[in-house]
C-alpha cells in the first residue's frame, strides 16, 4: 500500500503537476493562436514573440516595483506588473493590426500571405525585445518560491517520496482557470462574444446581419493580447525568461492548436494539455515508478524511458503529424469559435 502511494506521488510530482502547469501555458498560447486563426484566418507566427513582449514589459515593471520596494508579500511581484504588461501587449497587437495586418485584410489576401506578413512582424518584435532587454536568461520570480517543499511533504506524510509544489505552478493553474472561464463565458454569453462566433462561422452572413467587422477584430486583438501576455509571463515565471525560447515555443503552441482542431477554442485548450502531457510522459524515465509498483524480482534495470529528454521537442510534432494523418480536422472539428 505504501509502495502504491509512493508510486502515485512519483507520478504526481514528476508528470501530473508539471504537465498541468506546462499544459496551461500551452493552452493559453494555443487559445490566442486559435482566436487569430478563427477570426482573422491566418496562422500567426508572431504569437510567440507577442508572448515574449508581454513577459518583457511585465519584467521591466517588476524590476521597477522591486526598486520601489512595492511587493505582494508571498506572491511574486510580477503579478502586480502583469496588468501593465497586458495593456502594453494589447497596444502592441492593435498597433501591429492597424499598421500591418489591416491592409491585407481589406485586400482580402490569401492566408499564406498573411502568414508571411506575420513572419515580418515576428522579426520586428523579436528585434525590439532583444534591443530592449538583451538575450540573457532572466529570473524574475520572487516571493515565496514553494508552497510545499519535497522535504516538508515527506515529514508530513511519512512517505519516501516528496511532493514539491512550486507557487508558480499553483499561480499558473489558478490564473489559467480564471482566464479560461472568463473567455468561454465571454464567447457564449455576451453579445460581442456571440458576434465573434458568428463572424468566425460565416463572415458574409455576419456582415449582412450588421456585425461590425472592425469591432470584432478589435475585440479579438484585445483577447489575444491578454492571453498572450499572461501565457508568456506565466511561462517565464515558471521556467525563467529567455527571449529566444519563445520562438521555439511557437511550434508546440501551433501543434496544440492544430491537434485540438484549429479554430476551436475548447480544442486548443485540450490540445495544449495533450501536447504537454505527451511531451512529459514520453520522455520521463519511469524506473522509480515501476520500482515501487512491481515486486522486486521483475524490477526494471534500465531507465524505462521511451525517448530521451533530448527529443521532448520532437514528440509534440510527431503527435501533430499523427493527428493530421488520422484525423486532419483535429480532435474537435475546428474553424468555428
Amino acid at each position: 500500500m505504501i509502495d502504491f502511494l509512493n508510486s502515485i506521488i512519483v507520478l504526481l510530482n514528476f508528470i501530473i503537476i508539471p504537465g498541468i502547469s506546462y499544459g496551461s501555458q500551452l493552452a493559453l498560447g494555443a487559445l490566442g493562436v486559435t482566436f487569430v486563426y478563427a477570426i482573422l484566418r491566418f496562422a500567426n507566427f508572431a504569437h510567440g514573440e507577442i508572448m515574449s513582449f508581454g513577459a518583457m514589459i511585465t519584467i521591466l515593471f517588476t524590476w521597477f516595483f522591486q526598486s520601489q520596494n512595492i511587493g505582494l508579500g508571498i506572491l511574486p511581484t510580477a503579478l502586480l506588473a502583469l496588468p501593465i504588461g497586458i495593456i502594453a501587449t494589447i497596444i502592441l497587437c492593435i498597433i501591429s493590426d492597424k499598421f500591418v495586418f489591416q491592409y491585407y485584410r481589406y485586400q482580402k489576401s490569401v492566408p499564406v500571405v498573411l502568414a508571411m506578413v506575420s513572419i515580418g512582424v515576428m522579426f520586428v518584435i523579436n528585434a525590439i525585445i532583444r534591443i530592449i532587454i538583451g538575450t540573457e536568461t532572466i529570473k524574475f520570480s520572487d516571493g515565496q518560491k514553494f508552497i510545499m517543499k519535497a522535504k516538508q511533504f515527506k515529514v508530513m506524510t511519512g512517505l519516501n517520496e516528496g511532493l514539491a509544489l512550486k507557487s508558480s505552478q499553483v499561480i499558473t493553474i489558478l490564473i489559467t482557470i480564471l482566464l479560461l472561464a472568463f473567455t468561454f463565458w465571454f464567447l457564449q454569453k455576451t453579445k460581442t462574444g456571440k458576434s465573434m462566433r458568428a463572424f468566425s462561422d460565416n463572415e458574409d452572413l455576419a456582415l449582412l446581419s450588421g456585425i461590425n467587422p472592425d469591432r470584432v477584430v478589435f475585440t479579438t486583438w484585445i483577447i489575444v493580447g491578454v492571453l498572450a501576455c499572461v501565457a508568456g509571463t506565466l511561462y517565464g515565471l515558471d521556467k525563467s525568461y529567455k527571449p529566444i525560447i519563445y520562438l521555439n515555443l511557437v511550434l508546440p503552441i501551433f501543434a496544440s492548436a492544430i491537434v485540438g482542431g484549429i479554430g476551436s477554442p475548447f480544442g486548443a485548450v485540450v490540445g495544449g494539455y495533450v501536447i504537454a502531457f505527451s511531451e512529459i510522459m514520453v520522455t520521463y524515465a519511469y524506473k522509480k515508478f515501476f520500482v515501487y509498483l512491481l515486486p522486486s524480482f521483475i524490477e526494471p534495470t534500465g531507465l524505462v524511458q521511451l525517448l530521451s529528454t533530448d527529443y521532448k521537442f520532437a514528440v509534440s510534432f510527431s503527435i501533430l503529424v499523427i493527428v493530421l494523418l488520422i484525423r486532419p480536422s483535429g480532435i474537435f472539428k475546428g474553424r468555428v469559435l
Binding site: P111, V121, F123, I125, I131, F254, Y311, S316, L324, P328
Partner: protein, 456 residues
C-alpha cells in the same frame, strides 16, 4: 535567354556591391560575403522552385540544409574502423528489424480491412517492434559513442572528396523531402508550413542527439577542403611566382632585399587567403549557374507551364488530367534537393558541421525573406534576393553602428543609452529584415524582380 533592362540593372547592382565592399573593407571580407551570398542564392532558388513555380510551401529549409551538412560529413570524413567494429553489427541488426517492421505494417495495411483491427494490430506491432529494435540499437550506439569519445565516437564517413557530398546532400534532402511530402503534402498551405517547420526541427534534433551518426553537439571539425590550403599555397613555387608576377611593379620599387622579401611574404599570406576564397567562389558560382540554367529551362518547358497551371488553378489543372498530387511531390522533392546541395556546400565552406547551429530564424525564415524580397517565380529574382538579403544581413551591423553613432553624437561616450544601443547592434539586423519583408510585401508584393507574365 535574354535579360530585360531592369534585370541587367539588378545584376550590375549585385556586382558593384561587392566591388564597393572590396575597396572599403578589403577583398577578403568581400569574398567571404560573396561566398555566403552564392550559397544563399542556391537555397533561395530551391525554395523558389517549389513556392514560385508550383505554390508548394516549404518551411523545412533548415532540415534540408542539415541533411546536406550531414552528407558532407558522411562523404568526406575518413571511416573509423573501431566504431564499425564496436557497433556495426548491432546497427545492422536494428536496421534490418526496422525494415521488417515497416514491411509488416504495410502488409497489415493491405490485408486487414476493418479499420479498428488495423489500428490495434499496427499499434501493437509498432510498440513491440520498437522495444526489440531499441534493445539492439541502444547497445550498438552506446558502444560506438564509447570509442574514443574525445575525437571520434561516431561512425565516420566514407573518406571521399567532399565535393561529391554536394550531390549526395541533394539526394539525402530529396529522400527526407519524399517522406515529408508523402505524409504532409495533402494539407492546406498554412498547415503544410507549420508541419514542414516542425519536421525540420525533428530532423535537426535527431542530428543533434544521435551521436553515433553525426557526433551530435560535439560537432565534426576538420572536414577536408575541395580547394588548396593556405599553408600549402604559401610554400608552392607557382603561387609565389604568381604573386611576384602580379605585384612586380610594386616589388620592383623596393630596393632593399630584406624589405622586399618582407613585403612579398605579406603579399603571399594575404594572397593565399584570397586565392582560397576565390576558388570557393568559382566552384560555388559554377554550381549556381548550372542550377540557374536548368531551373530556367524547366520553367520555360511544358512541365514548367503545367506547374504554373497547377499553381494558378489546381482544380482546373486536375480537370485537365494533370496529376496534381504527384506533381506537388515532385516539385517539393526537387526544391528540397537543391536546398540540400546548398547545405552540403555550406558545410564545405565552413569545414565543420555544427548541428546546434541550425536555427529556424537564421536558416528558414531568412531564406524565405530572400525568396519574397527577390521575387517568387523568377530565378534571377531568387538569386538577387539571396545576394541582397545576405549582404544586408552582414552589413547591417556596421551600418547600424554608424547610424547610432551619428544619432547619439551629442551624448557623452559613457551615456547609458548610447552604450546600451551600441551593445545591441547585432539585434538590429532582425529589425531590418522584418522591416524589409513588411515593406516589400506591402508595396511590391511580387518581389523586386517579379515573375514575367508569359503568354505561351
Amino acid at each position: 535567354m535574354k535579360f530585360e533592362r531592369y534585370e541587367w540593372l539588378a545584376i550590375t547592382i549585385m556586382i558593384s556591391l561587392f566591388i564597393f565592399v572590396g575597396f572599403i573593407q578589403g577583398w577578403s571580407v568581400s569574398l567571404v560575403i560573396l561566398n555566403m551570398c552564392i550559397i544563399s542564392a542556391i537555397m533561395t532558388m530551391g525554395v523558389n522552385i517549389s513556392w514560385g513555380y508550383a505554390g508548394v510551401i516549404n518551411f523545412g529549409v533548415m532540415g534540408f540544409l542539415a541533411m546536406g551538412g550531414l552528407a558532407a560529413v558522411l562523404v568526406s570524413y575518413p571511416p573509423i574502423a573501431e566504431s564499425w567494429q564496436a557497433g556495426g553489427r548491432g546497427l545492422g541488426i536494428s536496421f534490418a528489424l526496422l525494415v521488417i517492421l515497416v514491411i509488416a505494417v504495410m502488409y497489415i495495411n493491405k490485408t486487414v480491412i476493418q479499420k479498428r483491427n488495423k489500428y490495434i494490430l499496427n499499434s501493437l506491432i509498432i510498440f513491440f517492434g520498437i522495444l526489440i529494435i531499441r534493445h539492439f540499437y541502444l547497445n550498438a550506439t552506446h558502444n560506438i559513442e564509447d570509442v574514443n569519445p574525445a575525437i571520434a565516437g561516431f561512425l565516420g564517413g566514407l573518406g571521399l572528396p567532399i565535393i561529391f557530398s554536394w550531390i549526395v546532400g541533394g539526394l539525402f534532402a530529396a529522400g527526407v523531402a519524399f517522406v515529408i511530402g508523402k505524409v504532409a503534402l495533402g494539407l492546406r498551405s498554412d498547415y503544410l508550413a507549420i508541419v514542414t517547420l516542425g519536421i525540420s526541427e525533428i530532423v535537426v534534433s535527431v542530428l543533434k542527439h544521435e551521436e553515433w551518426l553525426s557526433r551530435g553537439v560535439k560537432n565534426v571539425i576538420g572536414l577536408k577542403r575541395p580547394v588548396p590550403y593556405e599553408i600549402d599555397l604559401q610554400n608552392a613555387d607557382w603561387f609565389i611566382n604568381l604573386v611576384t608576377y602580379l605585384n612586380s611593379s610594386k616589388l620592383n620599387n623596393i630596393i632593399d632585399v630584406t624589405d622586399r622579401q618582407q613585403v612579398l611574404n605579406n603579399l603571399i599570406i594575404d594572397g593565399s587567403g584570397i586565392f582560397v576564397k576565390l576558388s570557393y567562389a568559382i566552384l560555388f558560382l559554377i554550381v549556381m549557374l548550372i542550377i540557374f540554367y536548368f531551373a530556367n529551362k524547366a520553367q520555360l518547358s511544358p512541365w514548367g507551364r503545367m506547374m504554373r497551371a497547377i499553381r494558378d488553378n489546381e482544380t482546373a489543372a486536375n480537370a485537365m488530367g494533370k496529376d496534381v498530387v504527384k506533381q506537388h511531390l515532385i516539385i517539393f522533392v526537387i526544391g528540397a534537393a537543391i536546398v540540400g546541395v546548398a547545405g552540403a556546400m555550406l558545410v564545405t565552406l565552413d569545414g565543420l558541421f555544427t548541428p546546434s547551429g541550425y536555427r529556424p530564424l537564421r536558416f528558414t525564415f531568412i531564406i524565405w525573406i530572400m525568396v519574397i524580397v527577390g521575387g517568387s517565380g523568377n530565378n534571377l529574382g531568387a538569386i538577387f534576393g539571396g545576394f541582397v538579403i545576405w549582404f544586408s544581413w552582414i552589413e547591417a551591423a556596421p551600418i547600424t553602428t554608424f547610424i547610432i553613432n551619428q544619432l547619439t553624437i551629442g551624448l557623452e561616450p559613457t551615456n547609458a543609452l548610447k552604450l546600451h544601443l551600441l551593445d545591441s547592434v547585432p539585434y538590429f539586423r532582425y529589425l531590418f529584415m522584418g522591416l524589409i519583408l513588411l515593406l516589400i510585401l506591402r508595396y511590391r508584393p511580387k518581389g523586386i524582380i517579379p515573375e514575367k507574365v508569359r503568354h505561351s
